[in-house]
């Protein structure tokens, strides 16, 4: 019964600890991404590798960024396509 009382009086979802945790989670996603521009660069290269299996893209104009808005973090990629490839290399892989 005491534990029940404790729960009623203490723990609820908007307790400051949960606020702290949520804020931390957000800030860390950003921090961790911010930490290494190399990581973003690597991601870019991998993206190019995968996408160029399907289409020809303008690699020099390719942009990859992490966007933080109020409540979420999004990966935003701007990839200018030059033209589609007719025979997707995918078949080669499968075959």
């Amino acid at each position: 019964m005491l534990e029940f009382l404790l729960r009623v009086f203490g723990k609820n979802s908007s307790s400051s600890k949960n606020v702290a945790k949520e804020r931390l989670r957000l800030v860390l996603v950003h921090d961790r991404a911010d930490v290494s521009p190399q990581l973003l660069e690597e991601l870019k290269e991998d993206l190019i590798k995968v996408i160029s299996n399907y289409m020809e893209i303008d690699e020099s104009a390719l942009e990859v960024n992490l966007d933080t808005s109020d409540n979420m973090v999004a990966l935003v990629a701007n990839i200018p396509v030059i033209r589609m490839k007719r025979t997707a290399k995918r078949s080669e892989k499968i075959g």
Partner: protein
Amino acid sequence: MGEVIVITSGKGGVGKTTATANIGTALAALGHKVVMVDTDIGLRNLDVVLGLENRIVYDIVDVTHGNCRLKQALIKDKRFEGLHLLPAAQTKDKTAVNPEQMRELCSELAKQFDYVIIDCPAGIEQGFKNAIAGAEKAIVVTTPEVSAVRDADRIIGLLESAELRDPKLIVNRIRPLMVKKGDMMSMDDIIDILAVNVLGIVPEDEMIVVTTNKGEPAVLDNYSRAGQAYRNMARRITGEEIPLMDLEADTGFMNKLKKLIGFK
């Protein structure tokens, strides 16, 4: 060949020096040969926490610059035979030491001691780079606060890029009652976020202040809860498996009452 362990945190004042003094002393109490190295040049503290400040003649800068032999700068602890301190310089320029010299120094110390414990300065600047240069293992100290955890995360990232993998975490200054009320992140909350292994958890403990005043680490006090926590950590470092402390035990009237009535 001894182990070289750096104790670091990113954020200042979270308890690196206290952890170094206590873990070092506890390891020595277990019979190991230990040297604690203070790399906080210009803001040295480890000597006062250990009560050895009046014995300093040479310091780490003197050693790296060849003004004295390593042996001359090592200060013997007054309590334990195997415990030594290599103090930081207080009045010299903090750029006086570089990572290469630290690597050399650490490998020399590792030949003579079972454990080389390095107290790192706050921040991620030169002092941090020096402190981790010669280390093989890392311990990251944090408190259950947003700013400290965030800085710990940054440090863990930096340690990993310096090839110091799998750092161990100390969560310091936990207040069980606040955790219980949901007003402080628990160890689990922090692990959840940082995803590292835990070396130990330390409760907020007034005895830390009292023992620091006296220049005697809390591990020497059998009644200090924080002292107990650090003794456990020392044993974990030596490879023993010791369960984490139950911080909620004896944390106040409510708990005692609960025990009395038979909850738990």
